[in-house]
Amino acid sequence: MSEIEKRAPSPKQSRRPMPEQDPKRRARNFEEVALGYSEEDALAEAARCLSCRKPTCQAGCPVEVPIPEFVALVKEGKFAEASQKIKENNALPAVCGRVCPQEKQCENGCVLGKRFEPLAIGRLERFVADYEREQAGRQLTPRVSRLASNKKVAVVGSGPGGLTCASDLARLGYAVTLFEALHEPGGVLVYGIPEFRLPKDIVKSEVEYIKGLGVEIRTDAVIGHLFGVKELMSDHGYDAVFIASGAGFPMFMNIPGENLNGVYSANEFLTRANLMKAYLFPEYDTPIARGKNVAVVGGGNVAIDSARVAMRLGAEHVYLVYRRSLEELPARAEEVHHAGDEGIEFKLLNNPIEILGDDSGRVSGLSCITMELGEPDASGRRRPFEVVGSEFVLDVDTVIMAIGTRANPLIGNATPGLNLTDRGYIAAAEATGQTSLPGVFAGGDIVTGSATVIAAMGAGKRAAKSIDAYLQQPRP
């Protein structure tokens, strides 16, 4: 450390690079791609921070992590304390440090970015959270503000939104039960985001932390079927309910051949691979098609994740078929870069028109048409149109549809009086999460549509605050 202090740290220095697994090697294994900072990396990077009195980074973070404070602790080598500091606002730093789109959030606001490279806030966040977990052991600091409040809250869905709300309410002294439809808590963190971007052990340990705060987790509990939202309050003694059930309903293109064997939604493909560990088949029972040539349709982070998983399952060619150009590709630049390094082939300005099958009903090809970009539309994006006569067939045996998800209608249908938007999402006030039903709050993807981990956490936080306010009101 003294070595580094002697070298006068300058913000002009470029940021410390993230050590990574070699692309050739990692394209065939499920181990984490980014290896994480060493202590030396972390100290050197933290030294670049100007400890701004009016930090512009913090406002970019949806949960307002106290960035200068935690970075100052890193500078002093107080890594576990830094992690604790972050946890005042963010219960899942090891997750956020890995998957937040920092370049659009905290790091986008960092003043260093104006003239140099912004501080690597996410990498530091990841480092201190990992340090605390691995080196310092868990320190549970449930800061219960009102002991034994004897009020109960039900949280539906254990993704980042539900986990955050549950953890905040538990720390306020409420008895919280988290109901999760699947057999494992974590939401997209366990079924969607692959192991090599977010190791499942980390999610598990975050979930353990939240359990340690006294949150009861009930898996295999499909709300709307097992219990109704209103029955949770009328029959099971919950004083309030927070719904964070995500936007997990997969969309298809409605083109011919979509029901052939070998066609997956990204959700199914990723769930088989991640949650069910099909990449370890037959050690694990759930099978998955290990395609030789795989087409992934779409251009978002979910498409990139699917493509990278397909590569790791042993594909020879993985094509990302996207109807616009690289410029419009909505996936994070870093992930696009990673995917490219791993050998994913980008088929840009191509749109699928039909999936072809063989006699046994298996995929034998993907018929596409070439697109060209026209004038920008209302959203400012250039609208693609088909080039007449440009049809061609991509030789693939597996097709993964990663063209987006919608709200699962289950809870909405099962809860009379719960107002939905015209697109099927739950209507809830942004600042409070309040829905049309008294005592029922909602947040995360089920309200906004697919967004980000940290946005769902922000919604969970705001809901916890307003649920607390609601429950502290004197009522008849």
Partner: protein
Amino acid sequence: MFSILKKEQLADGIYQYTVEAPDIARAAQAGQFVILRLDERGERIPLTIADFDAAAGTVDIVFQVVGKTTEELAACYDAGGALLDLAGPLGRPSHIPVGKNVIVIGGGVGIAPVYPIARAMRDAGNHVIGIIGCRTKDLMIMEDKLASVCDKFITTTDDGTWGRCALVTEPLKETLEKRQDIDLVVAIGPGPMMKFCADTTRPFGVKTVVSLNCIMVDGTGMCGACRIEVAGETKFACADGPEFDGHAVNFDQLAMRLRGYVEQERLALDHYHGGEACQCQK
């Protein structure tokens, strides 16, 4: 964990388990199913709720040994043991009419899921005609139980070793020819049997409901593994079904999709037989 209270072999390769699951038992309705998982490495498999008792807090499942998971369940899980996961009740409940004439048909292990439906139909004041059938006498299950909730009851076997020597479609056709007042037919069993039942009722214009056993993962509408074409539109069997209009289902597609993993299923079973996967001492 969900305790197994009772295990019974009903026929060759067909077992019935009574599982302690008070919340599911309270919420369950006829036509719904559960998804179970045996252990950490296990697959999630859907099974219809064959009976439920809210007072006792139990649900029954009846399954046929066809592959790795069902074989392991039958071989290694006894009364006193427990299932790691049991999620449910899933799917839409059967639509139960009131005061109508209905025919319920069960084929093979499909006899089991028909029972709660027939019972609910009877309780709602419908006139229930039951037809159940299977290949041979040794595979016949739940005859008395089903008979007890039917006003009229017919048993068939393909080989004539028990009941009438016929396919279930024969008494179905005769009944439809004899009586013009049948309002609804519910048929559950192997895909081809449901298809033939639907083909039989089509000329009579009698509404026919079938329950589809598509391959599933989550069972809540999240993955789309269970998709199937009905009336030219893709539906999710777990969320939109499992019951659909038998005259509109693309049965060929169902059969095709059920073959999606045959190779892997064989591999899984071989691995299970060869490996140390089974820890029990039997």
